[in-house]
């Protein structure tokens, strides 16, 4: 199963980014083998619609689940349409989050945060 984790860097040791649309990058991890690929989030700095574009990006990578902190309303709609489950990660490394996912301890996110929640210096 392929999982996309929002991240502040481009390795398994990078911290998870609490923001989805404006995360620095996404680590696409195979949850069984822990093989991964890092992709830059090209929409992180866009003036608007970052969440929409980021959700499109992880959908194109055939991710079946996302681990992140918070998801805005637009990104939520795209992820739902793509049938991608969303899990609430912790402010630890990508690797630790995937390990927790495998243990089944991560909670599913069903509700989004308000638009622009992750802007304005909030972590």
């Amino acid at each position: 199963m392929k999982i996309a984790v929002s991240a502040k860097g481009n390795t398994m040791e990078s911290d998870m980014d609490q923001r989805f649309g404006r995360a620095a990058s996404f680590i696409i991890v195979d949850a069984q083998t822990m093989e991964y690929e890092a992709i830059d989030n090209t929409s992180a700095a866009s003036s608007g619609g970052a969440g929409i574009s980021a959700a499109q990006l992880v959908a194109e990578k055939d991710a079946e689940a996302v681990i992140t902190g918070n998801v805005g309303p637009n990104a939520m709609n795209v992820l739902k349409a793509a049938n991608i489950a969303i899990y609430k990660g912790a402010a630890v490394s990508v690797k630790e989050n995937v390990e927790q996912f495998n243990k089944g301890t991560l909670e599913k996110i069903q509700t989004n945060v308000p638009a622009h929640f992750g802007m304005g210096g909030k972590e």
């Binding site: 929409s43 608007g48 619609g49 499109q56 349409a81």
Partner: protein, 276 residues
């Protein structure tokens, strides 16, 4: 003669100055371009008789024709379209109405449909105009464009801008003959005045400064204007009675003879400034 009133910082007194100026000129057109929260009507008390909606064009997908190729989402510079699992998702409030998706679609599956984002209201003589953006809408420009199409050429025009120095203000002051920059003697007032000055200089529009809430003990704005050779058109003193009358929907020119005369003089100095 088109005069725009802007400030950079919010709350310095754009509406006080623009509505007072309009009231002092008399036969003129006042346009409230602060479309996110127009409030000039509170002081000028117009009888609104006309209201016309402002519409924009947003994409609509014919699912029969669409094959889910994703060309529309790639063409969109504003991330207003996503295509996942062969299905097109459109986010109309993110759309900037450029029509690139229509051109990009190889199946001619996208057409444009109208969506209302706000309204333009006027009195019967069009001496008062205001734009009003619907709550939650992020894009003001189409409303400013519609207001500017209704600008009169036969009388002086006073435009009350929105705060800041971004797109809405740029669109409003574009084509104006003169800009009044309203500021106050505070660090924020000075900081944002400098931004407004760099904007009007870049757009090459003649301008002058009105210092609102002026206090003799703080000369920070005067000192800056002197250094930059900027004309200070008027100082409105920091007075409790101005604030009191404002809170009752009264303009300073309606309660103080001296201030009324000075606003008439302000218009004369603007005419000179715009001509030179």
């Amino acid at each position: 003669m088109k005069i725009a009133v802007l400030s950079g910082k919010g709350g310095t007194g754009k509406t006080t100055v623009s509505a007072s100026l309009a009231a002092s000129i008399g036969h003129c057109q006042y346009i409230d371009c602060d479309v996110e929260e127009p409030n000039g009507a509170l002081f000028l008390n117009p009888q609104i008789t006309d209201a016309s909606p402002v519409n924009v064009l947003v994409p609509y997908v014919d699912e029969q024709r669409c094959d889910g190729c994703g060309a529309c989402a790639k063409a969109c510079r504003f991330n207003a379209i996503a295509v996942v699992k062969g299905k097109v998702l459109i986010f109309p409030e993110v759309c900037h109405h450029c029509g690139a998706c229509v051109i990009a679609c190889p199946k001619d599956a996208i057409t444009e449909v109208e969506r209302e984002i706000g309204v333009v209201e006027a009195d019967s003589e069009s001496s008062f105009l205001q734009g009003r953006l619907n709550i939650g809408e992020p894009i003001t420009i189409p409303i400013i464009h519609q207001l500017k199409r209704l600008t009169r050429d036969d009388v002086p025009v006073v435009m009350d801008c929105s705060p800041g120095a971004s797109c809405t203000v740029v669109q409003t002051i574009d084509g104006c003959d003169y800009c009044i920059l309203v500021t106050e003697p505070t660090p924020f007032g000075l900081h944002d005045l400098k931004i407004a000055v760099s904007l009007v200089r870049k757009m090459d529009i003649p301008f002058g400064v009105v210092i609102n809430k002026a206090m003799p003990e703080d000369q920070s704005i005067q000192t800056y204007c002197k250094q930059e050779s900027i004309v200070v058109l008027m100082e409105i003193p920091y007075m409790r009675e101005i604030a009191e009358s404002y809170s009752n929907g009264m303009l300073p020119v309606q309660m103080n003879e001296d201030l009324r005369n000075r606003f008439v003089q302000l218009y004369d100095s603007i005419k000179e400034g715009a001509a030179s």
